[in-house]
């Protein structure tokens, strides 16, 4: 954990920064697709749980991506 932020939150926030130029929905879709492709299930689940907890340390677009991950595809 870096600076009290769980690793999956730090990583998700870093990814979100790369998509900040897109609309929130586009960005969230791109982030969710990326996480789906390369993240281990436990990390994705941790992110979803964290987003659902209402935590404030998660980038809003990353939080939206977590919701998209949660939704059945």
């Amino acid at each position: 954990m870096s600076g009290g932020v769980p690793p999956y939150v730090r990583l998700a926030n870093e990814i979100a920064a790369q998509f900040a130029h897109r609309t929130p929905d586009e960005a969230a879709t791109a982030i969710a697709n990326h996480l789906k492709a390369v993240w281990d299930p436990r990390m994705k689940q941790a992110l979803i749980t964290h987003a659902n907890s209402g935590a404030t340390d998660l980038d809003p677009t990353a939080a939206l991506a977590a919701k998209k991950l949660q939704a059945p595809s």
Binding site: M1, S2, P7, Y8, R10, L11, E14, I15, A17, Q18, A20, H21, H34, A37, V38, W39, D40, P41, R42, M43
Partner: protein, 940 residues
């Protein structure tokens, strides 16, 4: 095989069709125009005596031994410097020529020691051979002192750790001087003096060791006598047999003739027919193989229940049984996903394939990653997104056709020396060089090479710079519209994006510190200078935007049409010998072999049917994720194949915490490395001299690694993996490494045509190798991209969060040095430590002065995550505010200060940007004696 002596044609081959016909000693031969008479004669089966000529050097015409008669030509011209002519009639042997040659030989021998029987070159001396060939029976001038003035008392220079310079045996043929020039490109050697005083010198009045010599050994190989001779040959005698194999160091993947007496390796000689190196080598590949027989080698398995216990040597059966039992116990207690493995780029394709199979088929998860995670994983991601294939586009030979070379974050003369030499030769022929690097690497300015532009950017601003280069291309009308229209997609959106003012050189200048006009001129040169090639290294990938930068370079190449032919392309310089191969073999947690995603049902079906077990369709943990999961308690056991993660991975304290949290750590390695200090099982590994398999180099070239001896541990590494799998209840067995390659070919389309037999037949193969390309693919994307259309990607510059602050005002960047390799586990156990006994911190004179630091002072280097100490070297190679070090020694441990920051797409660590402070350490540290002892220990 018996000792392989490659034929020497005397002068280099000339390109083109064999259209010039001539007659030599009555034999008619056709050769390409420009070929020398000497070479034509050899091709006709006629050996012309020679001493100063050899076929990797241009003709010199000094020894006068190769004289011939040519109808219609006066005198006796030297055959090495005389080009063929249509209808030429040549005689190479008659009484007159024989007399001339004996006269030449008499003069040579009159000033040469007559100690042939005890000479180290006895049996491999061209002077000796020529004395025989010319029928020399007497030396009328006498020999030695009786012949008058001579050079027989000249001293021997033994300063180089690997070879001697016995000046008394020198015949001043200049082959060594020319090899240093034409092959290596260092120009360290010269002929000093005139006439009788002419002698070979390494610089002005200094020894070989203190000269500019980089110890590549090209001079030793070129020497026709015992003058430049490997110390190993002096000590052991001439080798008697050859095994063709592949170097175990960098991603160039040089082919070598391992020359042995029995099972004892005498010397490594680069192989002329080696596709990657074509007869050249560097100091590591040629000389630094002694680690394989170093007393530190672990040869028996060791086990311990806890880290506080001493190691216990055990049988293979016990070690494998212990490992298998503990892995199953941990899975039973903590879940199927609680264990995993890391593969190594220092092991063969077959060994890597076996480990990823063990993880997927036996562990039942995808928790397998490779050390390429921390070097070139962004290459895989970026090139896959844009071109459709996770590999470089060219072969090394392609650089010979480049007119412009854009070198970004790569220092080939240190990190990939044999390719660096090749690049230098092309630059000296007139190709233009653009260097993008915060540090003034040697290629920016070295003898006969000077970069047209050096964009000395601030660390972390690569993407801003590549966007600015592309901005110039787009806004100044330099786009190759025809190429883009026919070969690419998503261009219009990208064009609009990159044309935005924020990407202009003027805007980027403030961010990067590079003057706008310099960026514009470099972009124009790249776009309009002819064939333009991009070569890049870890200075691109090891950033928080490593993947974005790879895509940015691909955009630039596509926009200018610099893809799909010789001389162009986007080329990653891979760090370790099998980075490409370890990635190809499915050791990424989201990809099966051939870069096919684990979620692809059709691909999984291939393996599920063959392996008889289901494969998870979700990605596994990457290396940094494994560390995080170990600390949070969900990951409990790790198998590490040949990789010293405790030294090589960033934020050492974090890595130590993760390794310390594991219930089982299994290390397969040559030595008790830093990682092994946290291990419960140590499975001794095999050196490249014992391995049987293949390595795949940076140009996708699959080369055979052939054993020169049986494994000193008794087992090949893939056999050990198979036995663990079997002990865990899965029937995994191969009869040979060749059988593993057959399975790879059976299941991986890009390897479909590869087999050991085919490799033996062709020498090497560049994948893809399949029905369409049965002999491999030197250059990719010629007619279309692997993914069909090349895809332009928007590459937004997002600054790294790692920035200099009041507390940490400098930026540290890291790299490599020529004589050492990665974490130094191999090279620190060779005489290479003579050149680099410890890592040092290069610091700009201004930054040093304000801190009261002088050259050689001990300094503390600290970042927000850690602190270490090392010696300072004052250097203006970096701009003010930037310092630099290497990571070859565990004593200083550069990664103590590097952070968790990583590439957003792949988690490749951001080694290249760390905010640090440097402080003078006023008093010697308490353990200085211990430091020195460790360094001295490496000198063994």
């Amino acid at each position: 095989m018996t000792l392989l002596k490659e034929p020497d044609f005397g002068t280099p081959a000339r390109p083109g069709a064999a259209t010039t016909e001539l007659t030599i000693d009555g034999v008619t031969v056709k050769v390409p125009p420009g070929t020398s008479v000497m070479r034509a004669a050899k091709e006709a089966g006629v050996d012309v005596p020679k001493l100063c000529a050899t076929d990797n050097l241009e003709a010199f015409g000094s020894c006068r031994l190769c004289v011939v008669e040519i109808d219609g030509v006066k005198g006796t011209p030297a055959s090495c410097t005389t080009p063929v002519r249509e209808g030429m009639v040549v005689r190479t042997q008659n009484e007159r020529l024989g007399k001339l040659r004996r006269g030449v030989m008499e003069l040579y021998i009159s000033d040469h020691p007559l100690d042939c029987l005890t000479c180290s070159a006895n049996g491999d001396c061209e002077l000796q051979d020529m004395a025989g060939v010319t029928g020399l029976r007497e030396v009328r001038y006498g020999s030695g002192v009786e012949a008058g003035a001579n050079h027989l008392d000249l001293p021997t220079d033994s300063s180089n750790p690997y070879f001697d310079f016995e000046a008394s045996k020198c015949i001043a043929c200049s082959r060594c001087v020319r090899a240093c020039d034409e092959v290596q490109g260092t120009l360290a050697l010269t002929i000093e003096g005139r006439g009788f005083d002419s002698k070979v010198a390494a610089g002005a009045g200094v020894s070989f060791f203190d000269s500019d010599c980089v110890s590549c050994g090209a001079c030793v190989q070129a020497c026709p006598t015992a003058t430049l001779q490997e110390k190993s040959v002096v000590e052991l005698g001439m080798p008697t047999r050859t095994v063709l194999t592949t170097c175990a160091y960098c991603g160039v993947g040089c082919s070598f003739k391992a020359e042995l007496r029995g099972d004892e390796l005498v010397r490594m000689v680069p192989y002329k027919n080696g596709g990657a190196n074509e007869g050249h080598s560097c100091v590591k590949g040629r000389f630094a193989f002694g680690y394989a027989s170093h007393p530190d080698r672990v040869l028996e398995p060791m086990v311990r229940n806890t880290l506080s216990e001493p190691w216990r040597k055990v049988s293979w059966e016990e070690a494998i049984g212990f490992t298998a039992r503990r892995l199953r116990e941990i899975q039973a207690a903590h879940g199927q996903g609680s264990i995993g493995a890391i593969t190594s780029s220092r092991t063969t394709n077959e060994e890597v394939y076996a480990v990823q199979k063990m993880v997927r088929a036996v562990f039942g998860n995808n928790n397998v990653d490779t050390c390429a995670r921390v070097c070139h994983s962004p290459t895989g991601y970026g090139l896959k997104q844009t071109f459709g294939e996770s590999a470089g586009t060219q072969d090394f030979r392609s650089v010979d056709d480049s007119d412009v070379i854009l070198l970004i974050g790569s220092n080939p003369t240190d990190a990939h020396p044999v390719f660096g030499s090749r690049m230098k030769q092309r630059l000296r022929q007139g190709a233009k060089l653009i260097v993008v690097d915060p540090r003034r690497i040697d290629l920016v300015r070295s003898p006969h090479v000077e970069a047209a532009y050096h964009l000395e950017l601030a660390p972390g601003t690569n993407v801003a710079i590549v966007n600015a280069l592309a901005h110039v291309v787009v806004t100044e009308g330099l786009v190759d519209r025809e190429f883009v229209a026919s070969r690419c997609e998503d261009f219009e959106a990208w064009e609009a994006f990159i044309a935005q003012p924020e990407h202009s050189p003027e805007a980027v200048s403030d961010i990067s510190g590079v003057p706008a006009e310099k960026i514009r001129e470099a972009a124009r040169l790249y776009a309009t200078g002819g064939n333009a090639a991009i070569y890049y290294g870890l200075g691109v990938t090891e950033h928080s935007q490593g993947s974005t930068m790879v895509m940015g370079m691909a955009n630039l190449a596509m926009a200018t049409g610099n893809i799909g032919r010789p001389g162009v392309g986007v080329n990653p310089m891979r760090g370790q010998n099998n980075v490409q191969g370890s990635c190809d073999m499915g050791s990424f947690p989201h990809e099966l072999p051939g870069y096919r995603h684990v979620s692809d049902d059709d691909v999984r079906d291939i393996y599920e049917k063959l392996w008889g077990t289901p494969i998870l369709n979700e990605p596994g943990l990457r290396i940094p994720n494994m560390f995080d999961a170990a600390i949070d308690g969900s990951f409990k056991a790790l198998f590490v194949q040949g990789e010293d993660i405790a030294q090589s991975d960033p934020n050492t304290q974090h890595v130590f915490a993760a390794l310390g949290a594991l219930e089982l750590l299994v290390v397969q390695d040559l030595f008790v490395n830093e990682t092994a200090k946290f291990a419960h099982v140590l499975l001794p590994g095999t050196s490249f001299l014992e391995k049987d398999g293949t390595f795949t180099n940076a140009e996708r070239r699959i080369n055979r690694v052939r054993p020169i001896m049986a494994p000193r541990t008794g087992k090949q590494e893939w056999e050990i993996v198979c036995e663990i799998a079997q002990a865990m209840g899965y029937p995994m067995h191969y009869d040979s490494a060749a059988q593993i390659m057959d399975e790879i070919a059976l299941t991986t389309p890009t390897f479909a045509g590869v087999s050991f037999a085919r490799l033996d037949e062709l020498g090497s193969i560049q994948w893809p190798c399949n029905v369409e390309h049965p002999s491999g693919t030197p250059i990719m994307h010629e007619d279309e991209f692997t993914r069909g259309k090349g895809r332009f990607m928007e590459t937004v510059y997002v600054p790294t969060s790692e920035r200099s602050t009041r507390k940490f005002p400098l930026i540290l960047t890291t790299g490599r040095i020529l004589s050492q390799y990665n974490v130094g586990a191999q090279t620190r156990r060779t005489a290479n430590v003579a050149w680099h006994a410890e890592d040092v911190l290069e610091i700009h004179p201004h930054d040093a002065e304000v801190r009261g630091v002088s050259d050689g002072d001990l300094v503390a280097l600290s970042s927000r995550v850690g602190r270490t100490e090392l010696r300072a070297r004052i250097s203006d190679r970096m701009p003010v505010g930037v310092c630099y070090t290497t990571f070859h020694h565990p004593v200083s441990g550069a990664n103590v200060v590097t952070t968790d920051n990583s590439d957003w797409a792949t988690n490749c660590p951001e080694y290249k940007v760390t905010a640090v402070q440097v402080d003078l350490v006023p008093e010697p540290v308490a353990d200085e004696a211990a430091r020195e002892a460790v360094v001295a220990g490496g000198n063994r």
